[in-house]
Symmetry: C2
């Protein structure tokens, strides 16, 4: 059986940066070929970045992607790699964008994967299964492909698939079995979610069994607005053996020698379907009869032994839960800052847990010299708040400033008659004005620090503590904020470093300090109880009766659900932040603001 | 041939208000039956409101919609209308929501239309064509229906269709022809867009010809977040004759006597396909073979002559363009305020055209007693600005206040070292804080007044002039703001009223007045030129070369496109506002913030 040295390039492209992304392909291809790689594979929509959203409708962008992939093929050949097949995702189209209701659904943009070889695009595969749930809108953008592309490389038949093709049964993987391939490559833009790495390996195993072939899975890494891609590229044999796995949240070239069935080896049912595969005979066909034709291309008919000794990619352990989440938040922030051309961030430091955790994430992402922390004390700020903020600054080494807000609050109170909540919100808004002024004056990106629990119930001041271009903990429940703080401190101790977050910020009861002696518990249930209800209602789409049946106090449920429903208008204007849960606020959860539906209570 | 008195109820339900919407059905049914109506038809998803977005995934909501439609059938019978078929749109499901990739695509939520008769749900139709473009995400939510429902009413076979079924060729209308129906009813949730009424009538005519039957089209009216529905319900005969048309932007019961072929009359090809329709033989079948089965239900086999003399619904003229847009903006604002439980609005009055037009819209929507206008002069505010704001207040009668901002700006300048743009933005943000404080103190909804041109190029201060819960002119180009101002004033003169907008606010060159002598033209091209480029780039997805080829100055194009691309982060946090164009900012146009794609220039 031939041996093929595959190189999975788990890299971090930027949406819209076609020249930069092409450069990344050429650089990684050079490294891969220098190490004897015989098939180099990049993630989904590598050349354009992913997801490109409505750029799909810009014909100039589609044209640039099409010509860019051709130019890249020529450049790779000029670099001396013309004889190594390189798989590069891009955006293709054979007609106008499908935005109109009456557009021909057989033509339009496609989520495409090109085989670059010999200076040209030797073959193309178009994504078959299009995700249109959660954060994905691919029925809006793409026409599905209907043919499986099989490329013969080093005497091995390799089937090409893209992301969602893996998540749905039937279709390309079944067609791959009929086509008798030795390897299925799947290129992905699969965003991080809690525990998703635990789902991926069993899924890849299932599809490897379905295809009766080894599966090589490569995923993007890096942040893109609300999404962060964790990599977690891997290779799984037909029998389910995990052969290699890349580390999460870092760029990585996973090189691995695979001994695979030769293309001319007998395959149980291949003779019956030489050019057409039919998925209807497989056990799993939820899409009903899913006929895919098979396009075959040969770029290397004969096996070529890889150079040097055997190469194994190794099996990286997935990160423990807290480390994984922390890494996602750090990378999500770092890439938002870097890819949007900022060099520094500014945030308000209240002495509380949320701003402390965001500051620690920012320092881990950017280094202390690029993080400005501003203490913005009012007459209601306690001594411990000021001390805790200063202590955080000292421990992390960030650029620390103090701007008392009272001189700026008082003139509003002198000129406008305000009371109660209006006075509380005023203080938060004056802080927002100061942070934005520093941003305008010095060029920092403003970070906002509202956790998911606060966003859910609207416990924030619109245009006050909510100001900012990015929110690193937008998708982190308050309970998890505490867990992460403790984990980050413990991790520092394990590494012999100083824990960044003052113990007092973790231990003290949370307060907005907008009036004397105020505590979050004046307005909100205990966070442990609150987060339990919120997780069911937001992440699980549970109704009131489901939540009560799950053991939550009925009065608490009614109160929390009402707060969530009434805060939709605040969330609509909130800053983006890294998605880590199954359902993040933003594109993942789309609810009307104008909405009189209230879960029916007892009363 | 039998005569059927149809009643199209063009009404304004509220999303999520199942009891209120059911009440509306009962009230309009009573009026319709009192007038001799024999078939009463309500718009798409009448019972739930439309669009309900991710409420589809809440099983409690689906269950309430299902039980609600059954209860409504019983209530209508108890009201004495059990023998009159009433068509009511709702949300149905025969399985869990289709959010998961591996959900059975044959089961899940459906956009449904119920025939209520005899105290029960006598028949149901499920929407076949699902829109997944523009503001629509229906592939995310619904499983398509595959059967055409034909109901015999008063001896006439009536086919049921829903909205997008009309906008795509093939499918239900072709099946209706094969089924030999006498009437096709189409229930709609079709949002207003400029010139859409001009598209609807030809479209309905085309489908009437395709079905070989009269088509009765009923649409929602009213605002729902960014959408406003204009009504424009109509009846078109098989030969294309417009028989009746309802006025736009108001609730209306369109009653009309239709003489239609009896169900047992010979139909050219009906005998060949008594229970199955096949669309493949029709000239227009862009979806390929689109087999729909036909479900037939009889609720009234014999013709019954309508009572009293003949009834005609009349043919309302569509509004002229400016009146139509103005009506859309007024209704969009009025319904956002009303349906979200506000009783008043507040906005800053600069003396400029944008705030003047928004104030006039608000006064038309709510009356002057429910509109608070605040002049917020700074040291850079000209005398004419203050005078123009006061004059607007005098003409409209709104609640006028003056809050000079300098006492609140100065302490920031005294405490933080700021210069240039940071000082300009500071003034806008102090104004924002004042408006939000008034909102918190007095309960008004804050209106923000940035036009579409400003939003496009980012010519606004985030958390400054952009603060607010709703923006009535979000989708109105600056050029159109002027046109609307002149039209509104002229219209007042025609009606013998005082023109609301001071002539000086219309005539003077626009300025943000954030530094001495500042004009918009310091930073922006002339609006006529700017709006030309923006319309092509935003609404038309034109690329740089397309725009240059269309005659726009290349340097101007490069400059404008760069401004638009860099302002995405501001738009992401902007308030919702009424969509009137083919592509509004918001769900209609989805672009990444992190995006390095720049249209290639010459340089």
């Amino acid at each position: 059986m031939p041996t093929l040295r595959i190189a999975l390039a788990q890299v971090n492209p930027t949406v819209g940066d076609l020249p930069g992304n092409a450069r990344l392909v050429r650089d990684y291809t050079r490294t891969a070929v220098d190490a004897g790689g015989q098939l180099v594979v990049f993630p989904e929509m590598m050349l354009t970045g992913y997801p490109v959203e409505d750029l799909v409708f810009r014909e100039s962008f589609v044209a640039a992607a099409r010509s860019g992939v051709g130019q890249l093929a020529a450049d790779l050949a000029a670099d001396g790699f013309g004889d190594v097949p390189v798989l590069v995702g891009y955006l293709d189209a054979d007609g106008p964008a499908a935005i109109s209701a009456e557009a021909d659904p057989g033509r339009g943009p496609r989520n495409a994967l090109a085989v670059l070889h010999g200076g040209t695009v030797a073959a193309t595969y178009f994504k078959h299964h299009l995700p249109n749930y959660g954060v994905f809108d691919e029925d809006r953008y793409f026409v599905p492909g209907t043919a499986l592309t099989v490329v013969r490389v080093g005497g091995v038949d390799v089937a090409l698939t893209i992301c969602e093709d893996l998540w749905q049964a039937g279709g390309p993987f079944t067609a791959a079995r009929r086509a008798g391939v030795g390897l299925v490559v799947t290129v992905n833009g699969s965003p991080y979610e809690l525990d998703k790495d635990d789902a991926r390996l069993p899924l890849v195993r299932r599809r490897a069994a379905e295809a009766g072939a080894t599966v090589a899975y490569v995923n993007l890494v890096g942040g893109q607005d609300e999404l962060v891609f964790d990599g977690d590229s891997m290779i799984v044999a037909a029998d389910g053996t995990l052969l290699a796995r890349a580390p999460q949240f870092v760029e990585h070239l996973l090189l691995h020698d695979l001994t695979l069935p030769a293309a001319d080896a007998p395959a149980q049912d291949r003779a019956a379907t030489p050019e057409t595969a039919d998925a209807t005979a497989t056990p799993e066909t939820p899409d009903g009869p899913d006929q895919m034709t098979v396009d075959r291309v040969v770029v290397g008919d004969r096996p070529v032994d890889p150079t040097g000794g055997p190469v194994s990619g190794g099996v990286a352990e997935p990160l423990p839960t807290e480390a994984e989440i922390w890494s996602a938040l750090v990378l999500g922030l770092r890439d938002y800052v870097r890819k949007n051309g900022f060099s520094s961030v500014v945030l308000g430091l209240s002495g509380g847990i949320d701003s402390a955790v965001v500051a620690a994430i920012a320092v881990d992402a950017l280094g202390p010299d690029r993080v400005v922390g501003v203490s913005l004390p009012s007459q209601f700020s306690s001594e411990h708040s000021r001390a805790d903020a200063a202590e955080l600054a000292k421990r992390t080494g960030l650029d620390y400033r103090i701007e008392p807000i009272q001189p700026m609050v008082d003139p509003f109170l002198a000129n406008i008659s305000l009371s109660g909540l209006a006075v509380e919100n005023l203080q938060a808004r004056v802080r927002g004005v100061i942070l934005m002024a520093l941003s305008n004056q010095e060029g920092h990106l403003v970070l906002t620090t509202g956790n998911k629990s606060e966003l859910a119930v609207g416990y924030s001041t619109l245009y006050g503590d909510s100001v900012g271009g990015f929110n690193p903990i937008k998708d982190v429940w308050k309970s998890l904020v505490w867990t992460l703080a403790r984990w980050r401190n413990d991790d520092a101790v394990r590494r012999g470093d100083e824990p960044p977050i003052p113990e007092n910020s973790i231990a003290k009861p949370p307060s907005a300090e907008l009036r004397p002696g105020q505590l979050d518990t004046d307005s909100l249930p205990d966070y442990a109880l609150l987060d339990g209800v919120l997780t069911g209602y937001i992440d699980g789409d549970a109704g009131r009766d489901d939540l009560v049946a799950a053991g939550h106090d009925p009065a608490l449920v009614d109160r929390v659900l009402r707060m969530v429903d009434l805060a939709e208008y605040k969330r609509r204007q909130s800053a983006p932040g890294t998605k880590i849960s199954i359902k993040a606020f933003g594109r993942d959860r789309r609810l009307p603001i104008t909405n009189r539906w209230r879960e029916p209570g007892d009363g």
